[in-house]
């Protein structure tokens, strides 16, 4: 139950404190936190994709591509059918397929997993930019609604319980994944396969099958993250739509030590930082060039990795293809 490391905790406390001191008006603080949650969710969900894959020993740097192609399918199917739910379902199917492709390359073909992920990214960029059509619209987005009672809690209510359906779905997935990884047979087996596949194999767990299942489901989760951006947060699709979120998510996963709640906390930290930057610009307290706000998440990713590298331990079998009978 090491949900937060000490350092993560300090970071979080620091940002919370600045929040309360800086924005005396509680309305502003609340809205910054609500915006932060909205920014954090796709990052956190994408980090879940990474966690599900890496816990079973598969490195997935194709998250970016999975999200991109899912957002594309979500938007264009929703536009074609004029129904966002069908768009979402189509996206989830596409995402699972991308997961399956990664599994085939990484598990069956025993390919280098970094290259396999890069192929998915380049393939997604190529397909979406080739098939992209301008000027399409979707009928509506997943609208925000209030969860009765819970949304009345001061501060936490508006921050956490007034959102669109996909935000709630995303938060539910994160909590479910946390429980599943640490408290179910599936979770135990997944972790075993990621740490020491030959032992898991000896104990009767099919390494290849579990890796296939997890990577495919992870693809579906990545699709929800992509669909969230296209169908709820932004409501459109452009070339290069994901803008590095899939990679930032990998850093968050490492920062959160492959723990769903840790990654969620890290994502909140990122989302809040972005929301703060926005708020500072709106209030015209500082005038940061827009390019630097855009680069901020990437700079922070590098800093975070530099700090945490060498101090965190990834799943032991990560990145290595498994061959039956290997020790």
């Amino acid at each position: 139950m090491k949900m937060l490391s000490k350092r993560n905790g300090y970071f979080l406390a620091a940002i919370l404190a600045t929040g309360f001191f800086y924005f005396n008006g509680s309305d502003v603080t609340t809205s910054v936190y609500a915006t932060g949650t909205v920014f954090a969710l796709p990052l956190a969900l994408a980090a879940m994709v990474g966690i599900m894959c890496e816990r079973t020993g598969i490195v997935n740097i194709g998250i970016e591509g999975t999200m991109l192609i899912s957002a594309f399918v979500a938007f264009f199917v929703a536009s074609l059918t004029q129904n966002i739910v069908i768009g979402l379902i189509a996206a989830i199917f596409t995402g699972s397929m991308m997961g399956l492709v990664l599994a085939v390359m990484a598990v069956s073909w025993r390919m280098d997993q970094i290259i396999a992920g890069t192929i998915i990214n380049i393939l997604a960029t190529g397909l979406t930019s080739f098939l992209y059509v301008q000027g399409k619209t979707i009928p509506n987005v997943f609208q925000s609604f209030e969860i009765p009672l819970l949304s009345k809690i001061p501060f936490f209510g508006p921050v956490l319980f007034i959102h669109g359906a996909l935000t709630f779905l995303g938060l539910a997935i994160i909590l479910a994944l946390y429980v599943a990884i640490y408290h179910t047979t599936w979770g135990l087996r997944s972790r075993a396969v990621g740490e020491h596949p030959s032992s898991a194999d000896t104990a009767g767990v099919s390494v290849a099958r579990l890796r296939y299942i997890n990577v495919t489901i992870a693809g579906a989760v990545g699709a929800i993250a992509g669909a969230y951006l296209a169908l709820e947060l932004v409501g459109s699709f452009e070339r290069g739509f994901i803008a590095g979120k899939g990679f930032t998510a990998l850093a968050l996963m490492i920062f959160g030590r492959w723990n769903p709640l840790g990654a969620l906390a890290a994502a909140m930290f990122f989302g809040l930082a972005q929301a703060y930057a926005n708020q500072l610009m709106i209030d015209q307290i500082v005038n940061i060039p827009s390019q630097f706000t855009a680069a901020l998440p990437y700079i922070m990713t590098i800093i975070v990795l530099t700090i945490s590298a060498g101090k965190v331990r990834p799943p032991a079998a990560e990145g290595q293809p498994y061959e039956k009978g290997q020790v």
């Binding site: 890069t118 990795l305 060498g310």
Partner: protein
């Protein structure tokens, strides 16, 4: 135990490869991959209700059908040879440099700055200075990733991707601020001085020859010199390299520096030879094309050139193809992705050549 076995296999596999440089399978696969990718893309074009034959005909006629077209093709190929070479040098050292894009951008902007600033110098001094400054900034960006990899164990894939976006933001900022052409509506730098422009002989851009000479030198350095041997050994087996007393950290950093310098040079050549200035929309995707080109050329410095010419030709002919057949020029991106998928799919590799798949990278570094 298993690890050393794998390592041994990798080493055997590699040494076998280097002794038989021109075996049929190795050079057959890329050609098959290109043809299959074109066939797959043709199906997609057909599904859009357009004619793939017209599209391909127009594409290749524009690119390779005339001397003028060939000149444009070689011009487009130049930065691709260099970005492919940059990725290849990284892969030889076991580093997956996805950051050629950012390194190339910084080289392009730095060269544009040098081309404008040092006006009045004679061409034979101005051009080398601008090229060197471009290469320097490219290697500076890559050096960050190399340093973090060597001393902090941060995986280069993540840092190079992050640096791509950071460099893009910084370059946009500079091009729309300090380095912007005065009194102009467009966001771009001023045109470089005449003395900084790379000469064009007939239709043939001189930058291309520079790129080919560099490719040959890199091939020579990797295959024939001590530092090349160090880079290759680190790439093949980190532990063996360390055990043999090779300074692994320093080699990793210098490989990244070389890789970045080549990519930066690619950007500089693009600026001084083709665009003559820097603007935010230029150079997009050149670095990523380098990944496909490097793998298409089987990570061999000289093998990269034909792949780069092919892709450069496609890029050169894409606009005309859209005019003739209605197919979007992004077809080239799709083709590149399919080629990359096919060229690396070991199923095909195994079909032609009985070799075990090898991992170029694993996990998050170490």
């Amino acid at each position: 135990m298993s690890e050393t076995n794998v390592d041994k296999k990798v080493v055997e596999n590699q040494s076998e490869k280097s002794t038989k440089k021109f075996d049929v399978g190795t050079w057959f696969i890329p050609i098959i991959a290109v043809l299959v990718a074109m066939a797959l893309a043709a199906i997609l074009i057909k599904l859009q209700g357009l004619n793939p034959i017209t599209a391909y005909k127009s594409l290749f006629k524009t690119a390779f059908g005339s001397i003028e077209g060939l000149g444009v093709t070689l011009g487009k190929s130049t930065p691709l040879v260099l970005s492919g070479l940059a990725v290849a040098v990284g892969l030889r050292a076991g580093l997956f440099n996805i950051g050629a894009q950012g390194q190339l951008l910084s080289g392009a902007l730095a060269a544009a700055w040098a081309g404008v600033t040092f006006e009045g110098l004679p061409g034979y001094i101005h051009i080398p200075i601008a090229l060197i400054i471009g290469a320097f900034f490219g290697s500076l960006v890559a050096g960050i990733s190399g340093f973090l990899k060597a001393y902090r164990g941060v995986h280069e894939v993540i840092t190079t991707i992050m640096l791509n976006s950071i460099v893009m933001a910084v370059a946009d900022y500079l091009a729309s601020g300090k380095l912007r052409e005065p009194d102009q509506f467009l966001t771009r730098t001023s045109e470089v001085a005449e003395s900084a422009k790379l000469p064009i002989y007939g239709n043939l851009p001189s930058g291309f020859f520079l790129a080919v000479v560099l490719a040959i030198s890199i091939w020579w350095i990797l295959g024939r010199t001590t530092s090349g041997f160090r880079i290759e050994t680190v790439g093949r087996n980190l532990h063996a390299a360390w055990y043999a007393g090779i300074p692994v950290k320093r080699t990793v950093i210098s490989a990244m520096l070389i890789s970045g310098a080549i990519a930066g040079l690619g950007g500089a050549v693009e600026t001084l030879g083709i665009t003559y200035r820097y603007a935010p929309a230029f150079n997009l995707g050149l670095g990523f094309d380098g990944i496909t080109i490097a793998l298409l050329g089987r990570v061999h410095p000289i093998g990269i050139t034909p792949g780069a010419i092919l892709i450069g030709g496609m890029r050169a002919g894409a606009a005309n193809m859209q005019f003739d057949s209605g197919v979007a020029p992004e077809l080239v991106d799709l083709l590149m992705a399919l080629i990359l998928l096919l060229v690396t799919a070991p199923l095909i590799t195994r079909f032609f050549k009985n070799s075990s798949s090898k991992s170029m990278t694993s996990g998050w570094g170490n």
